[in-house]
């Protein structure tokens, strides 16, 4: 069993799985149940001045029969009295001393921050997360993402917090900004001890076409919300990686955004996260999902011979390059397994209309499109393969024309049926940056080469 425990800027946690500041961390009763289920830490639902919430608050994007691929919310920070929240934080921390309990905070003036930080720390919080990310409601009042979009404000408020705080200060960043590195560096400049990202993405989740009101609907009107859930994971991964690669980012990162299982978590950790925070998946399936996350990550680390989760951290950073550093000589082509192909030919249409017109059906030669790079007809493989299931509906790849784009593999409904095979390319190992350095900026393989 690998060691899953982490030390995040001095905040110790039995595992890297934290609940993000959101409805699942609204009350002490919930957080205690979550810790019992196995969560290593929790960021309390944001504390601040009293607010009022609306009904309804959530909207979702479903994909086919999969529910809540993306979730949008217009809920604000905690609507419970501050002293109740603080009392519950105290109780939880007393009963769960080894778990990480972080207070998310949001307020306005320097004095407000001083008071709020003191109260949170007096209640026993292990650390503070300043919510500079909320992109709905609070930002209209000059807080949340309104701060997170202004590097100067980030630095200033962070430095106030550092002045007042005894515990580590994490800054929760908004993705609703042009350059995540700029805002991340601003937080580091303010002296923060860690970064959490991403907060939700400003969004309109859909429209009720019968009423002509956006969702979620509040009476006869709606407003923009914050988008999260599995759909935002790729955006979050990129922003986390962008900060992890930046030399000036010297603090640990808590990765957030669509994490639903151990595999998602491993990806965030491999791109530089020290802890990960989860919300939507718990709102969907409950605290119980952490059992598989812990077990799955353990199994994965064991299988890779890694002794601790720390060894996984940043493992995929080195291979993350600029496009200009990619090997232009590398070539793969698609291969369709005649044993498992079911003959749906979804790949045929996808390739023909959405890619490079190099998948065909039938045992006769096929005329290539006029823009093809290869001369002559596409020739079916010999001997012509017949699918075990697909029979004569088994498609074949015109390998000389296949650019190895992966689309067929991505659309194929049968896991493992289409694979991408490495082939010996005629082109040497060479990157675009190599070419520009050499003054050869002409198209590789193109007509000017």
């Amino acid at each position: 069993m690998a060691d899953l425990s982490i030390d995040f800027a001095g905040i110790r946690s039995p595992n890297p799985f934290w609940l993000a500041s959101a409805p699942p961390t609204n009350t002490g009763e919930q957080v205690m149940r979550a810790f019992d289920a196995g969560w290593g830490g929790a960021v309390w639902k944001t504390l601040g001045d009293p607010i009022m919430n609306v009904s309804s608050r959530f909207g979702a994007v479903d994909l086919g029969t999969y529910k809540m691929m993306g979730l949008n919310n217009i809920e604000l920070i905690s609507d419970r009295p501050l002293d109740v929240n603080l009392k519950e934080i105290y109780e939880v921390k007393k009963r769960y001393p080894k778990h990480a309990l972080i207070a998310s905070l949001m307020t306005e003036t320097r004095e407000d921050w001083r008071v709020l930080i003191k109260k949170a720390e007096d209640a026993g919080a292990d650390g503070l997360e300043l919510n500079f990310g909320c992109p709905h409601g609070m930002c209209e009042r000059g807080m949340g993402s309104c701060v997170g979009q202004e590097p100067k404000l980030i630095t200033e408020i962070t430095s106030w917090a550092k002045e007042f705080a005894k515990t580590p200060v994490l800054i929760k960043l908004t993705p609703n900004t042009g350059d995540i590195v700029e805002v991340g560096l601003a937080a580091v400049a303010g002296g923060c001890d860690g970064l959490s990202l991403i907060n939700t993405i400003k969004s309109i989740v859909g429209i009720d076409l019968d009423r002509m009101v956006a969702l979620p609907r509040v009476g006869d009107a709606s407003t923009n919300g914050g988008y999260c859930g599995p759909a935002v994971k790729p955006i979050a991964l990129h922003l986390v990686a962008a900060l992890a690669r930046e030399r000036g980012i010297t603090v640990p990162i808590s990765g957030i955004g669509g994490i639903s299982n151990w595999r998602d978590a491993a990806e965030f950790i491999a791109l530089g996260s020290t802890s990960v925070q989860v919300c939507t998946a718990v709102m969907h399936h409950g605290y119980r999902i952490v059992e598989d996350m812990i077990e799955g990550l353990n199994e994965f680390l064991d299988a890779r011979g890694m002794k601790s989760v720390e060894q996984l951290r940043r493992a995929a950073i080195r291979s993350y390059r600029e496009w200009g550093e990619l090997d232009l000589g590398y070539k793969i082509v698609a291969q369709i397994d005649p044993k498992t192909c079911i003959g749906c030919q979804v790949c045929v249409t996808a390739c023909n209309d959405g890619a490079h017109q190099c998948i065909f059906v039938g045992d006769e030669e096929k005329q290539r499109p006029p823009h093809a790079h290869t001369h002559g007809n596409a020739k079916p493989p010999q001997p012509f393969p017949v699918g075990l299931i697909a029979g004569e509906r088994l498609p074949w790849i015109d390998e000389p024309e296949c650019v190895g784009c992966n689309l067929c593999q991505l659309v194929c409904p049968v896991p493992g049926c289409i694979t991408m095979k490495e082939v010996e390319g005629e082109a040497p190992h060479e990157t675009w940056n190599d070419r520009t350095r050499d003054g050869r900026t002409k198209l590789p393989g193109g007509i000017h080469d």
Binding site: T65, G343, Q345, V346, V348, A390
Partner: protein, 448 residues
Amino acid sequence: MGELTSLLEGGRAEEALPDKKPLYSEAEARAEAERCLYCTDAPCIQACPTEIDIPTFIKKIASGNVRGSARTILEQNLLGYSCSRVCPVEELCAGSCVYVGWGREPIAIGRLQRFATETVLAEPTKSPGLRALYTPKPKIGKRVACIGGGPASLAFAGYLALEGVDAVVLEKRAIAGGLNATGIAPYKLHAAEAVREVEWVLDLGIELRRNVSVGEGGVRGAQLLTEYDAVFVGVGLGEDSRLGVPGEDGPGVIGAVDWIERMKLDPKTDKPRGRVVVVGGGNTAIDVARECAQLGAQDVVMVYRRTRDAMSGYAHELAAARKEGVRLLEQAVPVEVIRRQGALVAVRLARTEGGRPVPGTEWELACDQIIVAIGQSKLRAIAGELPGVELDAKGCVVADAATGQTGNPRVFAGGDCVNGGKEVVNAVADGRNAARHLIAQWKGSSNG
């Protein structure tokens, strides 16, 4: 309720048999529709005799465009509603679904097709029926007559009515719809539902003349050829074939098609009781056996003269029948019906070899009813009514496979009277193809 539907009396035996595949709710339909892979050049389309663009209509259900879905179905198959319920999808579209080869449940195409067509056509708040989607084109001054009011004629008349042709359907029965109304297993489609679809088609502006037969003592073919620009023959098949054994005449022995029609339409017909012997190995035989079992017969035995591999009845239907308690007696044939004081008491069976009885192997099987499902006669007389129309050696009307045109260029034919007895969907394809051909011909001649 339409005029035709009101002709159906209550208390029909078929009403006791519930729908085995009820209408999907919208949630069920969408969930099932989402499973469709949207295959390229989909095998299900190729397997459909009317070539409905199945993946397209399913994707429209998934997107919530149910009217568009119904349109996609009906443009290829105007009787897409009844076909969704009576088609042997296991043998056709669903049987060819790529999921089958993968070892997964195929898409429930029939149920999705029913959802789309029934949801749109039976929509209670809007103009019901095909008028919910279609407005026939202005009249083009052409008239056609259809002999027989079954699926082939209705498809022919319906597609032509949409093109502005005046169509008249001559039906010898009091009720129209052909086998859809009189012969479909009730757990698939009840008569009232079949007749409702007939009304939807007629509502396109088709005139139905009920209780009108064509031939001697009725309307003559020559008269039709004089009055109409084209005639469509969709008369189906004739009487049930008989066993031709001693004792057959008398109470307790009845032809299958006759029995099904009474069970579906005649409230005075009693439910089957006691021990029923069904003779035959086709789908009609299996239907009757299942219906008897479901209606509470004490014992149902199918008697077939060859082995089950040779049965023309579908394997999935036989499997369902056996689950319902139907027994199958293979390689046996009735040689005599045994009566006591006129009443049926048993059937004498003989073992067969190569389908022929072997003398000396006879035994008696006690029974209270014998239903004979060994085929139907051909309505040969229709050929004599229409000059140029010919019959093949089996008595089927000879018609061009693509156009339905007979030896008389103004006479078209389709459905069971041409193919000897196939599915409803084959009859619809025939009627539709003939209509398309005729319209193309008329448009071509007016243009050129």
